[in-house]
Amino acid sequence: MIFSELYDDRLSLLETTMSNKKGSRVPVISLCTTWAYYHAGKLPKHGLEDPEVTKKVLRKLYTDFYWDGIVFVRNGKTFSERTLNLLGGGTYQYDKNGMQQTKPGSVTSMEADEYPELISDPYKFILEKVFPRRYTLMQRNDEQKYNDMKEVMADVIGMFKRNAEEDKIAIEEFGIPQMRAAAFFNPVDIILDYFRDFNEILGDVKRRPQMVRDAGMSLVNFSLDHIGPIQPQPGKSLVIPMHLPQFLNAKDFEKVYLPSFKKVADGIAERGFKALYYFERSYAHLFDYLKELPQGTIGLFEIDDVREVKKKIGKSMCVAGGMPLKLLGKGTKQQCIDHAKAVIDEAAKDGGFLFTTDMMMLSPGDAKAENLQAVNEFVHKYGVY
């Protein structure tokens, strides 16, 4: 089969499965990002220094392992160190190996008494309050500010071009679809990830829940604006990692997070898109709410056993996950295959299941290459319906 036919076949398989139906086989999906550099004998920083390294690393990833689709290639936004220096700030930094890390103390850019301003006009609040606190660029004199921003934009345009070239390698050279149409956060997670850090927002949820709820509602259009001019396409989804609900009890979740979450989920469905939610840690206490999400929802589960998830809420959404990195990294080949078989037998029997790792593959210890190779080949063959 030539690559374009392979691509079309995989795209159709993904679309069927993501629609919670049974395709010809269980798709094998990659959540691999920086692990690929270590597998190729490189460090992530080598890719930041030379884009050609990343291309070689990706070609090796797609040659050495079987994949039907990829969700992540990179860890979120990858502004270069030069871009971050020009901006003079940001919420992350790189370590000596080029791994992205949240910069301690960098998230907080809003005081508790500023919720009304955020609620009144989120774009204005970010531009006028958050940006000057986050980036020294925004405090420079007119000429310097404009010239530095021009340099930043040249970097960012280059970054988008490189991202497109990397996706093209998967699509055109290997027939592997990129499943991500766009990625963004739910409204209340925007507050957590960009304005109020973890301890602060947990305090807000208890002390001023109505403010958190209302701020979430005011950010609904901000989240949906990420879709912009993109049109829905088969086999693609909007990827939405979720960061706060796993730390909230059901009552607080319903009060502060659910209203804007549901509004965005409905907005996505109304626009004809599918949403892939990355449910980090455990969501077992919130399953009843997840049942209410619209058709076209895909849930990627980290800690929750996908066999139980499929039984409890699998009628309302396509489920993804199943292969623990702990086992891929520490187990034997046979243990990994036995686990994959049990997952396929129980979670995938009625379709609507994407086989993938339970977390993004970042560090060298996240998987032994021989285990990943054996598991993906096994699922590709054993997962035929």
Partner: protein
């Protein structure tokens, strides 16, 4: 120059936006991009 004006100038002169609508859409997308 305030930050909104600076981003509007970037939208017009660097990104090639010509209408007010295009400029405002690009400014909004830059605010989303640089949020964190």
């Amino acid at each position: 120059m305030d930050n909104e004006l600076m981003l509007k100038k970037i939208a017009a002169e660097v990104m090639g936006a010509t209408t007010e609508e295009e400029i405002n859409a690009i400014v909004k997308s830059l605010i989303r991009l640089f949020i964190g």
